[in-house]
């Protein structure tokens, strides 16, 4: 491992969805974009938001909120698209991930990352790499490869949060499919 790789291995990009803190490994993230014109692909599951033109390439975009079984991502001035690179069926593909807002790049040494407790939480451990401790807060470190490669929704909490969250009519229009 080169020095750079070691550095990257301990670095995470943190973001917020529905007031909850999440993180993914920085090595997976290509860039972060503002939401520009998004072309919806009709007749597809709601978590597939559409496609964008990324410098001449058509890149699919996914609503991470809906994909994780939570409420759809709200469209505000903070909303952004993280372009991540994931491996699907042996191919590297670029994919846009819609989130509420991206926070910062965080250094987390391995000892600050704890495995997900098997008991006592309603979190689905399949999609989580671990829990990162930052000061007093806990971050959920997502296993973005597994999430994006999974068919259908990758519901994070068995209880489900989608129903609990108030469905904003304007935002839901973007992702809601009867």
């Amino acid at each position: 491992m080169s020095k750079k790789e070691i550095m990257q291995a301990n670095q995470y990009l943190t973001f917020v969805m529905r007031d909850e803190d999440f993180a993914i490994e920085i090595a997976k993230v290509r860039e972060v974009l503002d939401v520009s014109s998004l072309t919806r692909i009709p007749r597809m599951p709601d978590y597939l938001s559409g496609v964008i033109n990324l410098r001449g390439n058509v890149v699919p975009v996914m609503d991470l909120g809906l994909k994780l079984g939570m409420a759809p991502v709200e469209k505000t001035k903070n909303t952004c698209i993280m372009i991540v690179e994931v491996e699907v069926e042996g191919f590297e593909v670029e994919l846009g991930v819609l989130t509420d807002s991206v926070q910062m790049v965080l250094n987390l040494p391995p000892e600050a990352v704890e495995p997900v407790p098997k008991m006592g939480t309603d979190l689905n451990t399949d999609f989580i790499k671990g829990m990162g401790r930052q000061d007093e807060k806990f971050l959920i470190i997502l296993d973005i490869d597994t999430i994006l490669a999974s068919e259908g929704k990758a519901t994070l909490r068995e209880g489900g949060m989608a129903e609990a969250a108030p469905a904003d009519a304007e935002n839901a229009g973007m992702a809601d499919i009867p």
């Binding site: 014109s37 072309t39 919806r40 692909i41 009709p42 007749r43 597809m44 597939l48 559409g50 496609v51 964008i52 033109n53 001449g56 390439n57 058509v58 890149v59 699919p60 996914m62 699907v88 069926e89 191919f91 593909v93 994919l95 229009g173 499919i177 009867p178």
Partner: protein, 759 residues
């Protein structure tokens, strides 16, 4: 060839020079001394991996050629040209194999070549067993070649078996001297004529042979009253001929004259010899062909004048070396040094010219090999250029500057031209794929005990490279099906009055922006009743459902459908036709089947010429832009709310006195918002089926660079891809066949539900 020629080439230490020199050396030694040749190389260039790659590519091509020649030879065993082709392919594989250090291939091929040489000389006849063995040898070379890539071990034993079988064939035939061959008779005749065997005269790429005739009349010649000029006139009748009096200046009257004649002719060696037939005893005549092996012609093209003179024995190699050291034109230096006469130089120059012309011929017809990634990159760049150009046009239209308009239009025209050019470069004749199928048909039919001919038509039809590559597997599948399920056993065919031999006919033709490929066999055909029964058993159809026979036949494309009663290792595992269908769908093509029970089955595949860039019609529904492939668009009509009301909400509209079903994009793609009062309907057609696509606005033509929607959207309904507009927005390309089908299905359903409501 003397070793001098190699040193000569070493003078220019360019890589290609060395390569050529080494190739020359190998060519000279091949046959007797393979090991030494490859060793010489090992010290030099062999380690270069790109040469090994070139060897693999070239050998793969040669093996394909070998296979098709062998299959042709099987049909016409007497054709000596085919034997020559087979031999030359093997010979080249051996030669370059040892040159690039593929010793195992070279060693094996050497033995095969030895047997083929006997065949070429008419000592061993062409039999089916021989073809079988040589085909097996070809496969073995292929295995060795593949093994050298992946580093695996090919079976050594297999090679020995083949060699043993070939040797046995050769030994058996040469021992039975009862077999007299036409060829050997001929050769003995002509051997008597000029002391040279009657082996085939090599021809250049233009089908012409080149001879060097050295004619030295004896004293008796002049006494007989014959004139050299008369002979030369005879020669001129055969073709282009240059005559040189080589010792005119050197020794004016001491000796009898000597003549060198360079003759380029389409006639054979015998015709040339006939000219001299009456003066044979009056002169020394030697006739030599200049190009010794068509396959190695490229080596000889580069012969220098020094080499030619040395080879002719006109001058010693050392003398050439010495004279070369002084930097003057070689010809002049040699004359100055009184080593050769002026005329000798002239003569040699003329010979050199024939080589150069040959090279020119080869060049003008020639092609270059380009890695396909480079082409793909080129296509991508042109695609981006097209997108940028669209943007430029849009900007120019919006700022309305007249002086700007003209160059922008020029760029538009050039871009379109460039696009067509680049797309054309990627076009390949489909025959490259067809060629492979002869072997498949041969092997399969013999395995199944059937007698089947493969007939191909339109092999020159050109299609995008990617399309051809992705078409290979579906076609193999369809041909296997035709052979296994379609065509009956010979005995069965005879009892029902069909000829013993069945056929599979593979045709390709252009039709507009599409290519139509059909696979037809004259086998037992498909039985709609049987398919129906099977479909009902599989739950694809309910017994009450009434569908036409044509639709029943279409069911065989459904997943998990196979009517073969028993599963063979050839076909019939129920995965197949649906795989074929989806492969063709992925190529934006369509596949249809028609069959007459007991007579024939035809599968017709319609494919677009290219996958990368299409002409499209840009339309809009709501805020979303869509592109319809222009080759499927027939016309545009208007749809008003009054007309919608006239048909009570049924989705049909009369177009040219036919009620045409339509699909509204807003409904199909669930686009929100009010639809306008006047909508547009674009009439599209697909395989004769027509339907309307209703949308808000037709914007105009659009050069569409197709971009995949990505793996996430591979199941997107009604869409086949996307493209980027001049504004940077992504537009979606409509999958017209899916939409048309959908329109017809919905219309049929609404009629059914209506009639149900009436009853």
């Amino acid at each position: 060839m003397e070793s001098g020629s190699i040193c000569e080439s070493h003078r220019n230490m360019s890589l290609s020079g060395i390569k050529k020199a080494l190739k020359l050396e190998i060519a000279a030694r091949s046959g007797e001394n393979i090991g030494a040749g490859s060793k010489a190389l090992r010290d030099g260039q062999m380690a270069e991996p790109e040469y090994a790659e070139i060897f693999r590519e070239e050998t793969s091509e040669l093996l394909e050629e070998l296979e098709s020649s062998l299959l042709d030879l099987e049909k016409a065993p007497e054709d000596l040209k085919l034997v020559g082709r087979v031999f030359r392919a093997m010979h080249t594989i051996k030669g370059s194999g040892s040159m690039f250090g593929f010793d195992e291939i070279a060693g094996f091929t050497h033995h095969v070549e030895t047997v083929l040489d006997l065949v070429r000389n008419g000592k061993v006849p062409v039999t089916n067993e021989l073809i079988d063995q040589v085909l097996a040898a070809r496969d073995h070379i292929k295995n060795l070649l593949d093994a050298s890539t992946v580093g695996g071990e090919a079976e050594q034993g297999r090679g020995n078996e083949i060699i043993a079988a070939l040797k046995a064939l050769a030994a058996g035939e040469t021992a039975s001297s009862g077999v007299t061959k036409e060829v050997s008779e001929k050769s003995s005749e002509s051997a008597a004529a000029a002391g040279k065997t009657g082996e085939e005269v090599p021809l250049d790429k233009g089908g012409l042979a080149h001879y060097r005739i050295r004619f030295c009349p004896l004293a008796a010649f002049a006494e007989s009253g014959l004139k050299e000029e008369d002979l030369f006139k005879e020669l001129e009748k055969l073709g282009e001929c240059s005559v040189f009096h080589t010792n005119k200046e050197q020794q004016p009257c001491s000796e009898q004259p000597k003549w060198d004649i360079i003759l380029t002719t389409a006639e054979g060696l015998n015709a040339v010899k006939d000219v001299f037939i009456f003066v044979e005893h009056l002169a020394q005549i030697s006739i030599k062909t200049l190009i010794e092996d068509v396959e190695q012609e490229d080596l000889l093209e580069h012969k220098r004048i020094g080499e030619i003179l040395v080879e002719r024995g006109d001058v010693m190699f050392e003398d050439v070396e010495r004279v070369l050291a002084q930097q003057k034109p070689l010809g002049k230096m040699l004359v100055d040094a009184k080593l050769v006469s002026h005329a000798q130089i002239e003569s040699a120059l003329a010979e050199q010219k024939t080589y150069q012309q040959n090279k020119f011929l080869a060049k003008s017809k020639g092609s270059i090999r380009v890695a396909s990634e480079k082409l793909d990159k080129l296509i991508n760049l042109v695609g981006e250029l097209v997108v940028t150009q669209a943007r430029l046009s849009q900007v120019s239209a919006s700022i309305e500057q007249n002086e700007f308009l003209e160059p922008v239009e020029e760029v538009e025209r050039l871009t379109a031209e460039l696009r067509d050019c680049v797309l054309d470069v990627r076009m390949l004749p489909i025959g490259t794929t067809f060629g492979k199928f002869s072997r498949l048909v041969r092997d399969l039919s013999s395995e199944l005990g059937k007698e089947i001919d493969l007939v191909t038509e339109g092999a020159e039809t050109e299609l995008d490279k990617t399309v051809i590559e992705r078409l290979n597997d579906p076609l193999i599948h369809l041909i296997r099906n035709a052979i296994d399920h379609g065509i009956e056993l010979p005995a069965e065919r005879e009892t029902i009055g069909k000829p013993r031999r069945g056929y599979v006919r593979l045709t390709a033709i252009h039709s507009g922006a599409n290519v139509i490929i059909s696979i037809q066999d004259d086998g037992r055909g498909l039985d709609p009743a049987k398919i129906r029964a099977k479909a009902e058993a599989n739950g694809l159809l309910t017994p009450k459902e009434e569908i036409s026979d044509q639709e029943v036949l279409g069911l065989i494309f459904a997943a998990g459908f196979s009517t073969a009663e028993k599963v063979t290792n050839v076909s019939g595992r129920g995965v197949g036709m649906d795989v074929v269908k989806s492969a063709i769908d992925n190529l934006n093509g369509s596949v249809e089947i028609s069959s007459r029970k007991g007579e024939d089955t035809t599968i017709t595949i319609t494919l677009p010429l290219t996958l990368a860039i299409i002409d499209g019609l840009l339309v809009r529904a709501g805020d979303t832009h869509f592109v319809l492939p222009l080759n499927m668009v027939e016309e545009c009509v208007e749809l008003t709310s009054a007309e919608i009301a006239r048909y009570h909400g049924r989705r049909v509209l009369p177009v040219r006195e036919h009620l045409m079903p339509y699909v509204r994009l807003r409904d199909f793609f669930e686009i929100e918002g009010e639809r306008p009062d006047r909508e547009q309907m674009v009439v599209v057609q697909m395989d004769g089926d027509r339907a309307g696509v209703v949308l808000d606005e037709v914007i105009g033509g659009h050069q569409t660079v197709i971009k995949s929607l990505g793996w996430i959207y591979r199941q997107a309904e009604g869409l086949s891809g996307s493209t980027i507009l001049g504004s940077g927005e992504v537009a979606l390309i409509i999958d017209v066949p899916q939409l048309v089908q959908r329109a017809h299905r919905e219309e049929a359903m609404s009629i059914r539900s209506r009639s149900a409501a009436v009853h």
